[in-house]
Every structure is written in structure tokens, then in C-alpha cells.
């Protein structure tokens, strides 16, 4: 069956399986990715079918995982690294920023380092500290890296295929609280371009732009607003580096209002970049300043407070109201 209704986690698993089947140079590596199948089971069954040489349980050292993945890539492999949780990527941050991102340019194009780093990110699952963060801006700021994040099972399947096929390093953020959300995946479809945004819902009064876990929240907000007679467009960015500003600009020129939504702290977040660029591009179209909804400038709070910290339906609608009031 080419079309299946499966959860995001299963779509990612199928995508990795497909990559391991089609390209002998693809290797999966990380903590507990073997017998356990990863703490979220994204690599479930892969070691059993592809062996310990292709699906590699690594020592518990994130810099070591990414550093050796770079070496494997220089040897001609395509490593797909799993970082267990968002808050655990920082021991590898030096290897990612200083080595992985810059190596192609330093070599004047002589080498490529096609490493994919999968990171389950974001909150909403009641986890302990360091398991709910959204560090995408810290990677999008770095030239040489590409940063993408799927919001649906179909995008999970196809974007991971495309990230693995890319000759560039890709940071692949997986919205962990959406792992169990089901959607249709057509494994024989012709996928869209990896870095192209998607209009997830059409509307005329205001554009909500989001990515990853917040796309669902924004769709719910748009549905709620529709009951009040407001037509909200939702754009799923899909790619955070590069950002498809053309699609976003076309939407804003139509709706004349933009609210950016992400879980990451607003301060220096991707919303700041989007607001600045859209203001430059759409200055004479805008009826209101670009508003942002996101996390606060405080460490991610204990789980019992996360519903207050995260942008939920009401906070998104509050921003929609404020933007429409101009």
C-alpha cells in the first residue's frame, strides 16, 4: 500500500528504513537506537534488519557521536544521528557549529559532509528538565547548516528522505509531542521541495505562521476563529533555514496581518527574523505590526507549569485579536 494512515513516529521509522534500504552508505547512529529502537522508538526494528554496522549504538557522548559522524561523512558515508532530547545536543554544539557547518566552505567545496542530526524537540509531554526545549534558532543562526522540522506524518516521511539525500548538514527537528498524531503518508507521491513552506489552511483576514508542533495549534486556533467569523490563513514553514519568504510574503500581501507562533522563547527567536524580513518585504501591505507568540525569557518551566509557558490556543487567539484590532 502506497498510502497509509500512520503516526509521525512510524512515518519517520519507515523513512529511515527506506533510506537504509536504498543507500548502503546510510548509517543510523546514536544512543539506544539499536535494540531499544530509541527512547521514542523511531529506530524500532532497524538494527534487527540492518545489523549493528548500519544501526549503531554509540558511547554516551554527544560530541563524540557528531564528531565521528563527521569523520564517517568524510569517508563517504551518510550518517543519520539521533540526539536523544533537545537539551542534550549542547555537548555536540561545538562539533556542529565549528566543524560540521564550516567544513565545506573551508575546503573551498572539495569535501561534503552530509550528516543529518535528528533532534526530538519541544514541550508538552510533561517531561523533566532539559527534555522540552526548542533550540532551533541557535542552529538557524549558523551558516552552513540547514534546519527543517515536519509537522505532519507525510512531511516526516518525505522531509527525512530529502534531508538524508542532501549533501549539506541538516538539523532535523522532530516535534516530539506530535509523534503519535496520525496522518496519511503516500510513499509513492512526488514530494514537494524540502525548503518550501506550505499553506496548511487558506484564509483572508490574517496569517498565522508556525512550524513543527505549533502548526496543529495554529490550525485549531484558525478553526476556533472561523466560528467567530474570522478567516485565518495558516502557513507551515517546514524549513527554518532557509525560510521560504516568498510563500509567506504572498500570504501576508493577501491577509495584511501576520502573527508568528513558536514554542521557543520570543527573544531572538525565529519570529524576530520573520517579523523583520516580512516588515521589509510587505511594509505597505501591513495593517498591523507583526506580532509574536512564544516562550518566555525564562528557563523552560517545570512540567506542571508548561501549559502556561507554551503558546496554546488562547494565547494564539489573543494575539490574533490584537492584530485584528489595529
Amino acid at each position: 500500500m502506497a498510502v497509509q494512515k500512520i503516526p509521525l513516529a512510524k512515518a519517520l521509522n519507515e523513512s529511515l528504513r527506506k533510506a537504509l534500504e536504498t543507500d548502503p552508505k546510510v548509517v543510523v547512529m546514536g544512543l539506544d537506537v539499536g535494540k531499544l529502537g530509541g527512547v521514542f522508538r523511531i529506530t524500532d526494528g532497524l538494527q534487527k534488519d540492518f545489523g549493528e554496522e548500519r544501526v549503531i549504538d554509540t558511547p554516551l557522548a554527544e560530541s563524540g557521536i557528531v564528531g565521528t559522524a563527521i569523520g564517517l561523512a568524510l569517508r563517504g558515508y551518510r550518517p543519520v544521528v539521533e540526539i536523544q532530547f533537545d537539551g542534550f545536543v549542547f555537548p555536540a554544539y561545538d562539533q556542529i557549529v565549528t566543524q560540521l557547518a564550516k567544513m565545506r566552505a573551508r575546503s573551498l567545496g572539495a569535501v561534503k559532509v552530509p550528516v543529518v542530526i535528528r533532534i526530538p524537540y519541544g514541550g508538552g509531554i510533561g517531561a523533566v528538565e532539559h527534555h522540552s526545549e526548542s533550540p532551533e534558532s541557535l542552529f538557524a543562526h549558523v551558516a552552513g547548516l540547514k534546519v527543517v522540522t515536519p509537522a505532519t506524518p507525510s512531511d516526516g516521511y518525505w522531509m527525512l528522505q530529502q534531508a538524508i539525500q542532501s549533501d549539506d548538514p541538516v538539523i532535523f527537528f522532530e516535534p516530539k509531542r506530535r509523534y503519535w498524531d496520525k496522518g496519511e503518508v503516500d510513499t509513492e507521491a512526488i514530494p514537494g521541495e524540502l525548503h518550501q513552506a506550505r499553506v496548511a489552511r487558506e484564509g483572508t483576514d490574517l496569517t498565522l505562521v508556525a512550524y513543527g508542533p505549533m502548526v496543529k495549534t495554529c490550525l485549531e486556533a484558525a478553526a476556533a476563529a472561523a466560528e467567530e467569523g474570522r478567516s485565518i490563513e495558516v502557513v507551515d514553514l517546514r524549513s527554518i533555514s532557509p525560510i521560504d519568504f516568498d510563500t509567506l510574503q504572498a500570504s501576508v500581501e493577501k491577509t495584511r496581518r501576520l502573527v508568528v507562533v513558536h514554542e521557543a522563547p520570543v527573544f531572538f527567536g525565529s519570529g524576530a527574523e520573520i517579523a523583520a524580513r516580512i516588515t521589509e518585504r510587505c511594509f505597505y501591505h501591513l495593517e498591523a505590526p507583526v506580532l509574536r507568540v512564544g516562550g518566555y525569557h525564562a528557563p523552560y518551566p517545570p512540567a506542571r507549569l508548561e501549559e502556561e509557558y507554551l503558546p496554546g490556543l488562547d494565547r494564539v487567539l489573543d494575539a490574533v485579536d490584537r492584530a485584528l484590532a489595529y
Binding site: 564528531g67 565521528t68 563527521i70 569523520g71 564517517l72 568524510l74 569517508r75 565549528t98 575546503s107
Partner: protein, 400 residues
Amino acid sequence: MTVDSTAARQPRRSSGTSTSGTKAAAGGAAKRAARAKKPRSSDSEPPLVQLLTPEGERVQHPDYDVDLTPEELRGLYRDMVMTRRFDGEATALQRQGELGLWASLLGQEAAQIGSGRALRDDDYVFPTYREHAVAWCRGVDPTNLLGMFRGVNNGGWDPNSNNFHLYTIVLGSQTLHATGYAMGVAKDGADSAVIAYFGDGASSQGDVNESFVFSAVYNAPVVFFCQNNQWAISEPTEKQTRVPLYQRAQGFGFPGVRVDGNDVLACLAVTRWALERARRGEGPTLIEAFTYRMAAHTTSDDPTRYRHDEERAAWEAKDPILRLRRHLEAQGHADAAWFEELEAESEALGKHVREVVRAMPVPEHMAMFDNVYADGHALVDEERAEFAAYQASFANGEGE
């Protein structure tokens, strides 16, 4: 602050005679003076593998040996002379403003030539930023090494042309790349080996220790070649470790060997042995080449602020080139004419390097946007176009 620091600095100028200052400063001075009097590779240091004494006498070691023809011995000597001359030229070019910076290898020629000449063509090298003599062994055009120090690129060679990776400036990162590369070699079923260079300072880095863990666990065919040149800029090895560095390997589960880093024959023998272990699937080896950084850390450094001339003088007596010359002369393997010819050849290299460096073109402005990505990136394209338009606006202005 000024009084104390003056007192603390005094012993460097007049060794051993602590004079003025506070009691604490005088005590520190006495300690420093004592350390300077004790040669740092004294009898208290563990034994090291040596095949050629500083006097040029060939000695035997129970575990390591090399059997070289006179021509091969002359070849090693030539390598060291040529790379020292190249290094000296680069230092001079920095002083003349032609290079922004230079990291001299002076004193470390034997460690680099010995290990570099142990490699096969299909082996792969992951250097720091000081492996100029290893690059020489790999056939990298020496002038290519100068591009990054002149500021015209960040690494001017194709790593795969000579299996010599780009220089890595952030300390220790490359040991993980070497380990990953070696894991790939093993996966490919090849019998090549990989060598990772680093220093005593980098031995403290997490990445170096993680590379030891990974290479041991995966039994990767990699040789860790640590040039312990005694100084991480101003910090002596005692600030990095409480045990001799080679002994660390044991805790990770593979052998470690300390070799006389100023003995090109011993470095060659021990590295060959370690590479063969890797090829046979016996996993990683740590080699600690015990040597000395005769020059400053870089041309921006001032070693007179932290070390004594006596220490340098003690190491000068163990010079790697001098001892091989003594050996060649004593054995009658080379005559005065040969040495003169080599001298002329090295001078020609210096002249060539000077000419090439001075003629090195500054890259086109637009080059900074090149190769940021392999598959392109919309923002880079946009900024490139913006910058081109900005540049063009000046050209238009002139025409009006």
C-alpha cells in the same frame, strides 16, 4: 598589581636569585627557579623509545627497530632540513608582514617526519595547525599551507588529493573526525590506517578523550599521535596532566608508548608499529612524542614571559636534525658536498615560498558566498545578489 608582577617576573631575567618583592612572590620565584634547573626530561621521567642518541649514536631497543639504507637516512635528513627551512621562511614572512600569523614547528621536525614517513599513501591524516612537516611528507605543496596564515583562505588544499585533512584550529576536534573516518575504513573492509595529530594541551579536551572511548569501543584503525612539546602556549604539561600522557591509553584499553620525539628513527619505528596494529584490526594506539616547541606558540606569542632560556638550551642539545647529521657523518653516509647541495636546495625552497606567497591573489569579494552549502541556500543567494548590487552601485557612481 604592578609591584607583585614585577617581583614575579624577576627570576626569568636573573635565574635562581630571588631578590625582592613579597614573601609569597619570592617563594613562587624560588619554585620556578628550581623547576628551571631540573631538566624536564630528566631521570624522573619514564623511559622513552630511542634509537638515535642526541650524540648521533645508533642504539638498540628491545621492541622497536628500523632498518634503513643510507639513502633512506639521507631522505629523512633532507625532509627535516627542508621543512625547517620552510618553517623559518614562513616566520620571516610573518615578520615582514606577508603573513598574519605563523605557528612554527621548530624542534618538532623528527616527530612529524618520522611519523609522516611511516604512512602509506592510502592512510589518512587529520592534523592540527602545526603539522607542516607531515604535510610535506604527504606531498602537499608547502605554499598551500600559507594561504590561511596570509588570510586568503581558510584551508587551501583538497584533503582528498593527498589524504591530508584541512588544518583544525579548535583543539582536539579532529581526533573525533579521525576516529569516525577510521570507523568508515573498517566498515569498507580496507586495510588503511588513520592518524590523528594533537598536542599536550589538547589532551585535556573532551573530544580527545571521547575519541579514545569511541576508537577503543569500535576497535577503529587509528593512531593518536600526541606531540608533547611541553607547552600549551604558556601552560606547562603539568597543568594538563598528573600522569605521563601515554599512560592514559591504558585506562581506555589500548597501548600507549612514549617515544623520543626528537629522534626521527624512533618516531618512524613506533609509528610504523602502531599503523601495522591498526591494519591488522588490533585497534588504536596512543603515541606520545616527547619533544619541545623551540619557537613561540605562534608569532604572536612571547615565551620570555613564561619560560627560561636554560630550558630551551637543554633541548637545543637534543636537536633532531643535528643528531641525524652526526650519525650520517660518523657512518660516512653523507659528505660535505652533499650537505652543501642540500643547503642550496633548501635556500631555493625558501626563495620559491617567498615568491609564491607575495604573489598570492586576494580572492574575489564574491568568493565569501561560495561553498557555504553544497545544494544552495535561498538566503545566501539573496545576500550574494544584494552584495553584488551594492558593489555595482559604486562602479555606476564612477561612470556618472
